[in-house]
Symmetry: C2
Subunit: 470 residues, 2 copies
């Protein structure tokens, strides 16, 4: 009996090894699939390191640089980052810091030499101590921390090495020349490979991260509008949104709340990058932080909207006349502000100015809010209203009003970004279509070469037809 038990245990143990291996492979696959650039990056690092090893390996170079070739390998391993901006920031920091600290180290060496044999170690020790302490303190300055943290580290390192080692080696200038050239070789290899072989631009990532976050908010708001409508007891909408619609949008916004750290580091790296693609020199990277902050504020409001909805269901039935009166503008506020954000996100992704229709959606959300206000002011309540039933809706309405204000802020900030970065507006015919879309109900009919647009203008009695050539 015992034996069987232990046998079966062994079996299950043996069986669990392949299953664990399978799980591990699945995990690797998932990480690779999440962002295939990770695989490319790993290959790039291997490539750079192999290339630089040759500087150390082959005899002619070895004779030239000696042990210093090691510094090329060290530089590549430490400096190569996932994004171009990260690599550039570290390379440039390392290069400049080594140069500056080397020069200072030689100066310290000279000064200590003047003090005689007994004074030298004391002077050198004092200098190393004070420089290390002051530089370490400098790393606490927010500005230094953001951009030059690595440079200060290398500064301390190089100064100490030069100041202390120079005493022994003597040929300090030759050593410095060797070390600088190898570091340069390492740094240049990294920079060239990271810029020219499938580059990962931090700026581009930041751009699409911000746009993606706005998109997530938009998805929530549009989905929430649908939910509200379904709660209203409208059977036809229940069919389409009750079961079929995926509810993942209800959680998508959560990642927005914690996006600050990623956004900040990307913005810091983007600062170091040369112009690339549609991102010109002096691209307003700071504006992204502003948009990001507004996005997170909006996500916070959405979080409380979601909490409110989850804890107090929006009373699907029986819907009183009064709650229907409130629900309708709420649906519109949510859907319209969602549409506005979706168009803004799409515009950012295409590096265009936000289309006028986005502004139109914000406006209609605002007018829905105004309508809601007048409903609240003027409608008479039923003789004994169940405030418990109406309250969650009122709360949703109030938060939505704040969301609209936030969306308006995002639209303004994105507009500013587009102006500062010189994004193009819509092409003329697109703009015309957008303007037309705003004026009334439009049913576009595509008949091959032309798009026939039927406009049922608000003021006009008869529908007019416009032909916009495509």
């Amino acid at each position: 009996m015992m034996e069987m038990n232990s046998q079966s245990q062994e079996k299950s143990y043996m069986a669990s090894i392949p299953s664990k291996l399978h799980e591990f492979i699945k995990k690797i696959k998932k990480i690779g699939e999440e962002d295939p650039r990770r695989i490319i990056h790993s290959t790039k690092v291997g490539l750079a390191l192999t290339l630089v090893s040759f500087f150390y390996y082959f005899r002619p170079l070895y004779d030239g640089f000696g042990q210093a070739g090691m510094w090329a390998i060290l530089t590549v391993v430490v400096v190569f980052e996932f994004t171009v901006g990260g690599t550039l920031s570290k390379s440039i920091n390392r290069g400049c810091a080594t140069l500056l600290a080397g020069a200072l180290g030689v100066g310290a060496e000279y000064l200590a030499g003047v003090c005689g044999e007994k004074g030298e170690p004391v002077v050198l020790g004092l200098m190393v101590f004070s420089l290390a302490a002051v530089s370490t303190f400098a790393r606490f300055f927010p500005n230094v921390k953001r951009k030059y943290d690595y440079g200060v580290l290398i500064f301390i390192l190089t100064f100490s090495l030069v100041a202390v080692s120079g005493y022994r080696v003597g040929q300090i200038l030759e050593l410095a020349h060797q070390r600088l050239s190898t570091i340069l070789i390492g740094g240049a290899t990294c920079m060239i490979i990271s810029i020219f072989v499938c580059p990962v631009w931090a700026g581009r990532d930041l751009h699409f991260l911000v746009a993606g976050n706005i998109e997530k908010l938009a998805a929530f708001l549009q989905g929430f509008g649908g939910e509200l409508l379904a709660c209203g007891g409208d059977e036809s909408s229940k069919d389409s949104s009750g079961k079929n619609v995926e509810k993942s949008f209800l959680n998508g916004y959560k990642s927005v709340l914690n996006s600050k750290a990623t956004e900040e580091s990307l913005a810091n790296f983007a600062w170091w990058e040369p112009p690339h693609g549609k991102f010109k020199f002096n691209h307003p990277w700071k504006q992204y932080s502003k948009i990001g902050a507004l996005t997170r504020e909006c996500a916070c409001l959405i979080e409380s909207l979601n909490t409110n909805t989850n804890s107090k269901p929006l009373t699907p039935s029986p819907a009183s006349e009064f709650s229907a009166k409130i629900r309708q503008p709420c649906v519109e506020m949510s859907t319209e502000s969602g549409k506005a954000l979706a168009e803004i996100a799409a515009a950012i992704k295409k590096m265009r100015r936000p289309p006028p229709s986005a502004e139109a959606h914000v406006q209609s959300a605002k007018s829905a809010a105004d309508r809601l206000r007048s409903v609240l002011q003027n409608s008479s309540l039923p003789p004994k209203p169940d405030l418990q039933e109406v309250a969650p809706l009122l709360v949703a309405a109030s938060v939505l009003i704040d969301v609209i204000r936030c969306a308006d802020g995002i639209a303004a900030a994105v507009g500013e970004l587009a102006r500062e970065a010189g994004f193009e507006g819509l092409k003329t015919n697109e703009a015309a279509a957008a303007a037309v879309h705003r004026r009334g109900i439009v049913s576009p009919v595509d008949d091959g070469d032309h798009v026939v647009v039927e406009i049922q203008a608000a003021a006009a009695d008869s529908p007019e037809k416009k032909i916009i050539s495509t």
Copy 2:
């Protein structure tokens, strides 16, 4: 005229230098005052570096270790972090990775040697490439990134150096021995100084960060309750809270929203730290992340509460009878949940179990919420209610109900933390005092050796006196 102008410009320029210097000094002072441990840390780094320089500097040691002494300096500069956990994590990572990669490097060397003179560079190149690529990819695993990122970096570095350099130097084992001992010296110096000279424990920082965040929420809620009361048109409360009370509490919670990154890195570092102070071995650091997440959720609710209040003033006057009926429970909900959080934060800071009175405050907040619900269900509205006036209050009430649920969650999570970490409960007489406090109105009178407590029990007719020895 021109001359005067340029003179005055020069003057203002000259004058601006001292003012800029003054500003700079003020900035330094501010950074130092914000956290005086920064100054101590800088001194510690200087000290460690000076100590280690001697290994490189003095002849007997120089003869023993040669150029390898450089690695001790390098290790100190790169490994010394602000917190003990950070230093330990980097030192241990560096040590283990160097050992492992060194051994693998020697193996690679041997394997390449077998392949003949022509095959050797190809085999070494391939091995460096594949190891670097695989290790770089491993850094994208969340678990590896969190704890072993630096170790993997050093692993790649050491392996490449040993594999490539071994070809030249020949005496690879001696080199490895030298390098390992110097790295050990550097790492040990850092660890000893960071643990024994004014240590900065990441765990302790995390503990107080989490407690401080809860405290900030408590300050807001208590302040918000006061504000609500003042809006109710109660003149006596207006006097005390209208002008004198600082409104900084209204913004204190904002830093909570962005505390995730700091919290995470502190929790990662805390994992490496040995038992210290009241933090025992196996302290439940993970629980802090749980509490932190709940705190941020609560901060989000508070943010929307604040947005709501700022955009729609809570109608100070004329207060209708109905809005007064809603306001009273709201004030209580806010103040009581604030008090509960304040007591929980204080308990965390003292490393005690949350006192029963915290639970009592949560309960009275909950009963206020219940009262509000019955008000909403049963009270008849005035014939034509101005919903616009009541709506912001209803919103505040609804969000506050969610806040209470959140506070309840925080209380439970902190209770779990206290249980897992083995925090002590209150001492018996304190517990008695707390219980008494809960039962009725208590006026403590201190008469020297004893604290006389007058209890006006809710049920009892005559006030009873209890003497609690202190």
